[in-house]
Symmetry: C2
Subunit: 329 residues, 2 copies
DNA sequence: TTTTTATAAGAAAACGTTTTCCAGAAAACG
DNA sequence: CGTTTTCTGGAAAACGTTTTCTTATAAAAA
């Protein structure tokens, strides 16, 4: 392996000089830079990140943390969108990001988790859907041993940023549009996770609209699960005018239940996943650009790691009406 | 940061002794081991992988390589299954795996790619769906600079293993079962990528059956794309008795086309993805356990990196009939 | 001209491990 | 009882960088 030492010899300069060129130090003449770059090209030198990390005590390594339970539902395309967005941005910025799935995050212990990240040399985290129950992970984030960006969870501090859409507003808006011009009064609202931040926010949006329009809303927790939503729909839909769901996956569950019950009720979704197109229905929903969100999260993490301090980032959402053709063409 | 040096001091032994304990060297007495372990526990010592990698010249880092173009279709759940399988196995084995997406693999240059992996300290690769056109990546694999495991591509050597189902047999079997007891003679076969190994193998299976049953098979390349399959079905299905597809995604495309054309033709798929359930149809297909395949691939890579030599691994497939309920319950 | 300041480049220690080599003690052997 | 072998543990070099400190030179100020 050709090292910085070989480059130095070839260029006729000191090792430290080569290092300075590599790291864009100011005090090095253009002439020397030239020589060094020539030598690097001639020898095909590739800097050794390992040695660099050891010496500088900075690895620049980061992790994308996902809740493995979310993937029990193989059709959930959101995690993949997060992964694609994060990894591509990381590659673009020459960052080093590994993807980690945790199961039972809620029950994990702090020592273990810290040890895992530390031994991997991880310095920054992008955490997806941290829930209220994940106290250990929350502690880790607050321990100030790592820089973190939370997708869809609050927690801004010196070392932590937060990135999300305005869930309250989005739920309010999509439900309003969905109900526009109709006279639906009795609503079944299928909420997400009990301890999820986004679920709470969306529920607030729903309640706000209910107050405004004088709706009668029955709230049930569907855990973002298609199956749960299906059961709850079976149980409650008959006496309702319409069903509003905190996720598209639950909306699909609701629709399937309605087909099985052989009754019609309009359904409103949330997320704008393309799977929806395969159910062959039309539906109001909120489109989130998950790839973009993850990509922004990585960029924000880079900023934090360069010394910036945490901030709350709200990304825009869109109201759409998903159609069969969205996917096909 | 507490180092091996601190542990040595605390335990009253030499640094090298601690290292030996850490790496399970034989020549160290139980008594000493005990002392060292005690010191490690007391100090909460975490070995520094960076330093270890530098010193031993072994990073143990690996990469999962995916073709980004495949993910243009957000509903394709297969890449995610690969990722989950690979990452979880890596965590279990305490391996270090990063996920990398490449676009335009076919046009990449060798220097660049080698440099990328080398600077990241990557020593092993799991490569998904290497196609015949990806000559650079193929060269990289054969360069013997890395150990590799190829999912769904041939190429066994000292440094390379291959893992896949028996595609020829699977296509033969599923088509046979699909046609069993029917009198379909004129078949439209939608093949995958022109330069894809699996596509070729599946086509061989199809042709074998065609010879055996005296079928009249029209082969068209659908590129594993739903949209392409839809177009081809529109174009050719009317004069055929049945459609056999080299992937479920294409099968869905075909089904949608048939609905649009308002004609009925039975369709046979391949892959067994759960998305199929959302199309609300029944269909013969081949179920592959993609998570398991990726998980095995990582295990195999570990074996290669420990000095084992390459081998060809064939994993079993299942013939199934996907139903609506497969997904719902 | 002399002194001060600014600039460029080099020397060397440090980062936290691994690993080779060596020394000493204990065990085995004749 | 002397000699060889085996077993433990320690010393120190090495891995490829970064970074601090120092020195030499050139430019600026006195």
């Amino acid at each position: 392996m050709v090292s910085i030492r070989d480059v130095a010899k070839r260029a006729g300069v000191a090792i430290s000089t080569v290092s300075k060129v590599l790291n864009h130090y100011p005090n090095v003449s253009d002439e020397t830079k030239e020589k060094v770059h020539a030598a690097i090209a001639e020898l095909g030198f590739v800097p050794n990140t390992i040695a660099s990390a050891l010496s500088s005590k900075k690895t620049g390594r980061t992790a994308l943390v996902l809740d493995a339970n979310r993937h029990a539902q193989t059709v959930d395309e959101i995690p993949m969108q997060y992964i694609i967005g994060a990894i591509n941005k990381a590659k673009e910025k020459n960052m080093d990001i590994i993807t980690v799935f945790f199961t039972m995050i809620a029950e994990m212990n702090l020592e273990e988790m810290t040890r895992y990240f530390q031994s991997q040399g991880i310095e920054g985290l992008v955490i997806c859907d941290l829930s209220k129950e994940d106290i250990t992970l929350r502690k880790l984030v607050e321990s100030s041993k790592f820089k973190s960006v939370l997708i869809d969870a609050p927690g801004v501090s010196e070392n932590t940023s937060s990135i999300h859409i305005d869930n309250t507003k989005a739920q309010y808006e999509v439900a309003k549009k969905f109900l526009e011009g109709k006279n639906y009064k009795k609503i079944l609202y299928l909420s997400g996770k009990k301890s999820g931040y986004v679920s709470e926010e969306r529920l607030i949006g729903m309640n706000r609209l209910a107050d405004e329009l004088g709706l009668n809303v029955l709230v049930r927790t569907g855990n973002f699960s298609e199956l749960e939503a299906r059961k709850l729909t079976m149980q409650y839909a008959r006496s309702k005018d319409a069903i509003i769901c905190a996720s598209d996956l639950m909306a699909i569950g609701a629709m399937k239940a309605l087909i099985d019950m052989d009754i019609y009720r309009p359904v409103c979704g949330f997320d704008g996943v393309s799977l929806m197109g395969y159910a062959g229905k039309q539906m109001h929903t909120v489109r989130q650009d998950f790839q973009k969100i993850a990509s922004n999260a990585v960029e924000e993490l880079a900023r934090l790691m360069e010394g910036g301090s945490g901030q709350d980032i709200v990304v825009p959402h869109k109201l759409i009406r998903i159609k069969y053709l969205d996917v096909i063409s």
